[in-house]
């Protein structure tokens, strides 16, 4: 995600990329930084003290909270990749740290910025299908590649439920409201994982989230919401405006972690960051609040507990 955010920052009017701190940024990002005149080092503390306004955190999930705390202590606004943390206690600690320091915290629940997901939510809220009854979210990818091995380490990424599922959990909370109960199952084979999570929302709606790190066809998502008044659906495969099936004999393999790539005209990754930066500068709040980010982590944590106990897990009001 680091490269994605570097590109977004470079494309955002009014933002200036001051520097990147990372153990290894790769030749592409290094070149972007060189052209932009941004400093590159592995010294996080030094970068945070170099007179910034805000910082983007795009590191492995288990490092998010301590970095958010460090940035907040330095008086910087923070945009943190999703999920904010691996468990709700840590997520709250990150939010508290920002509140104490009087800095703003934005979290990269980018699905709210994907046009089809935003449109479906808008149609649901407008009453297009009546009271929403059922939703189904699907999010598939191949196994995380070896170059980004931390994804496959459950303790670092939270596995497929937390890393991938948190996108859909956030969107479902945004679209269908708080969740009362969670049931989940996960199966693993090597680095591959699949999971199914079923949510019972307050008011009765049922949603399900199908997640896979085992899809040999690569990344895709789909979503559907139905109700007494009709059905809304979207599938990234059938709405792709560009498709490139690479010759399998070609030497460049697929990327280590697949990220849907936005083009400048319609890039959710750019839009979420631009919204956050505008908020940091005194503009309106973005679509995702810190409380939303905590609620999504709480749901992911409950789903993982349900998958390991094989029981249904009740949630106290997911939105604090």
């Amino acid at each position: 995600m680091g490269k994605t955010h570097v590109l977004s920052l470079l494309a955002t009017a009014g933002a200036e990329l001051a520097g990147v701190a990372a153990p290894d940024i790769g030749p592409e990002v290094a070149e972007l930084c060189r052209v932009a005149g941004a400093q590159v080092s592995d010294d996080v503390a030094g970068l945070l003290k170099s007179g910034l306004d805000a910082v983007v955190i795009a590191t492995p999930t288990d490092t998010h909270v301590s970095l958010v705390e460090e940035a907040a202590a330095a008086g910087l606004h923070v945009f943190c990749e999703k999920p904010l943390a691996l468990d709700v206690k840590q997520a709250r600690a990150a939010v508290d740290a920002c509140e104490r320091a009087g800095v703003k915290l934005a979290v990269g629940h980018v699905v709210r910025y994907f046009p089809a997901y935003a449109k479906i939510r808008e149609l649901v809220k407008r009453g297009e299908i009546g009271s929403p009854a059922m939703a189904k979210c699907r999010r598939m990818s191949g196994p995380p590649g070896e170059a980004r091995g931390w994804y496959a380490e459950g303790l670092r990424s939270g596995g497929v439920i937390t890393d991938m599922g948190v996108h859909d959990f956030d969107w479902l909370l945004w679209c269908l409201g708080p969740v009362e109960r969670v049931s989940a199952l996960v199966a693993e084979r090597g680095a591959g994982q699949v999971a199914m999570v079923v949510l019972a929302h307050e008011g009765g709606a049922i949603s399900s989230v199908e997640l896979s790190w085992m899809d040999p066809t690569g990344f895709w998502t789909a979503v559907e919401v139905s109700g007494p008044g009709g059905l809304l659906s979207h599938d990234s495969r059938s709405s792709a405006t560009f498709r490139f099936d690479q010759d399998p004999r070609s030497e460049t393999g697929p990327p280590a972690v697949e990220v849907p790539v936005g083009e400048p005209l319609n890039d959710p990754y750019h839009d979420e960051l631009a919204d956050a930066l505008a908020w940091f500068g005194g503009g309106p709040a973005p679509r995702v609040s810190p409380a939303d980010a905590v609620a999504a982590v709480a749901l992911a944590e409950a789903a993982r507990r349900s998958a390991s106990t094989r029981e249904t897990v009740p949630l106290r009001s997911a939105t604090p």
Partner: protein, 325 residues
């Protein structure tokens, strides 16, 4: 070879007209008649198939060697009891009973006669291809199965609990559940489920549900049996499975073979084409009865698939995991 004399005993189920059309056209079958509790319905069906109306279950017993039991679900148990012990071979519509005790009793009765359960999806090329991929090793060990068997709300007796005996869990869990058992063996270890009346206000039983189950071999299975498709939606009825195997992902879409028809105003409807799985099932059953073979889909297998639906109903009520019988 002499034709097999077959009667239809109970014809209120939505599958009855299709079965009757096949039976009346088959060169291997002599359709001796149709009995239904509603004589008007029996004569309507008789008119369209040329089979006589039979006035009583007893009349079926004297004329037929085999019977298709295809009534509304709550009438199934009584009719099977009425013909049990008369030496007829039976093909019984799914689910097998509408309560666990009925299902138990039907399993017991099946010891007295060859009883096959109507689970036609086993005969569909999508299902047989999946079974082959599972058995020849090309899929590798199957880790998870995600199935949907959704529909629009069918209306009719589905809105009457005294005839339907349940909601979409009872009606639409069994097909996918049966395919899993048929293809991979083993048994159901645990199930959780959520359900509600969420798409069609006023229904007496759930029209929306999600089932989350585990097999004895550790495979995880989910089934969506909801009547969540809008009326008139093209392709409203589906039966899909996505199977996550160690060596790849297999996808089945039983009703995928269809032709899109756009009318003058651009409105789309779809004409289903492709395999006649009901006919394949009936043909196999007729052959098994004629040749005195064991039932193609034994009661025990229909029982296992139906038991998942009962356990899911219980899991909905208790908000906790239930172990199917």
């Amino acid at each position: 070879m002499a034709k097999l004399p077959v009667a239809m005993v109970g014809a209120g189920h939505v599958h009855a007209p299709g079965y009757l059309r096949w039976l009346s056209a088959s060169p291997d079958v002599e359709l001796v008649g149709v009995y239904d509790v509603d004589p008007a319905r029996a004569s309507e069906l008789a008119d369209s198939t040329g089979a006589p109306v039979l006035a009583s279950v007893e009349a079926c017993l004297s004329l037929a060697r085999a019977a298709v039991v295809c009534p509304e679900p709550t009438r199934q148990f009584g009719l099977v009891q009425a013909v049990a012990g008369a030496g007829l071979a039976l093909l019984v519509e799914k689910p097998l009973g509408v309560t666990p005790s009925e299902s138990d009793a039907l399993l017991g009765l099946s010891a007295k006669m060859p009883l096959s359960v109507a689970l036609p999806v086993r005969y569909h090329p999508g299902a047989t291809r999946l079974r082959r991929a599972a058995q020849d090793g090309s899929l590798g060990e199957a880790v998870a199965v995600w199935a949907t068997n959704r529909n629009r709300f069918p209306g009719g007796w589905f809105a009457d609990l005294s005839l339907a005996g349940g909601g979409c869990l009872l009606d639409h869990v069994v097909h996918a559940a049966d395919l899993v058992g048929w293809i991979w063996g083993g048994s159901w270890a645990s199930v959780r489920a959520e359900a509600g009346v969420l798409h069609h206000a006023g229904l007496p039983a759930e029209d929306t549900a999600m089932v989350l189950a585990e097999r004895s071999n550790g495979m995880i299975v989910t089934i969506d049996p909801s009547m969540s498709r809008p009326d008139g939606m093209p392709g409203a009825l589906d039966l899909t499975m996505r199977v996550w195997g160690e060596r790849g992902v297999a996808s089945v879409d039983i009703f995928a073979e269809r032709v899109g028809v756009y009318d003058r105003t651009g409105r789309l409807r779809q004409e289903l084409v492709g395999a006649d799985m009901d006919g394949a099932m009936l043909g196999d059953w007729v052959r098994s009865v004629t040749a005195d073979l064991s039932p193609p889909v034994p009661a025990s297998e229909g029982f296992a698939a139906t038991s998942l639906a009962f356990a899911a109903q219980q899991a909905v009520a208790t908000h906790s995991a239930v172990r199917p019988v």
